[in-house]
Point group: C2
Chain length 140, copies 2
DNA sequence: TGTGACCGTAACGGATACAGTTACAAACAC
DNA sequence: GTGTTTGTAACTGTATCCGTTACGGTCACA
């Protein structure tokens, strides 16, 4: 359903940071991270940027720079990573076409769907709010 | 998050069928449905086909043909519509790139994410399983 | 038995979104 | 200064959707 794998890449990236930092690493470069994620360093930097804006990671430019977790994995809910990389957190999409004014169903469908879409979003939010990066790390 | 609006269009279509049938209509043509959804009749037929395969609607070809609900709206959970139109019911996507064999995180991330992705899917399934087409109709 | 109203489905094109890539300026350590 | 690294813009290839056209097949009805 999701058109992208940004959440998976973001969690992978954060997990790699946690894994390396637990073994004494400082800042980890996008080059190193991209080797684990198997993509281009710029793709990792785009994810890192989103995570940095959300306050999940801290970055440092220049030699010896890179990214590191801003907090302990136990204090990073996956929901925070999800929101950082998914601009539109809504899981379901409405029909973009304007309603047909002469049809009551067409006029009312968006409002009638809203509680359902909201409930789905809430369910996802609740689920991702309970799990943390540490939970993921425990399984690796 | 969703790349398409098929679920919204499908529920709209089904709601229109229910609305018209409650007022005595028989089979409703894709032409009529497309006027409510504000799209092309072929787009509606594609949705109808998916709903028909799932047993949610019945169709009839030829003159006077079209679609009608196969059951009472009260007996049509939205989950059934969702599954009918979303081939890949998974809400979140994995990183498609193959793991880096020399990185434990890369090798283990998919398995570590699986319970989370599964929990999200379950949450969505549970939410859409509780609501029915009749619930949507009641709000129109 | 013909005619017109429909569906079913294939095929194509435009729009959009992602991931990947290149390129380069700026920041920083040494 | 030199080399490493981030930050970011720009471009490309690819996939997916949605809309559209086209046309064969089905059916009701005169």
């Amino acid at each position: 359903m999701v058109a992208n794998s940004r959440f998976a890449v973001a969690v992978h990236t954060a997990a790699t940071l946690a894994y390396r930092q637990a073994r004494g690493a400082g800042y980890v470069s996008s080059e190193q991270l991209s080797a684990s994620v198997r993509t281009n360093p710029v793709v990792v930097r785009r994810i890192i940027r989103a995570l940095a804006r959300a306050g999940v990671v801290a970055t440092k430019e220049g030699k010896g720079g890179g990214a590191r977790l801003a907090r302990s994995p136990r204090r990073i809910p996956l929901l925070e990573i999800y929101r950082a990389v998914e601009d539109d957190g809504s899981v379901l999409a409405y029909n973009p076409n304007p309603p047909n004014r002469s049809c009551p169903v067409s006029c009312g469908i968006k409002g009638a769907l809203a509680p359902v879409f909201g409930a789905v979003d809430d369910a996802v939010t609740h689920t991702l709010g309970k799990a943390t990066l540490a939970d993921v790390l425990d399984r690796i």
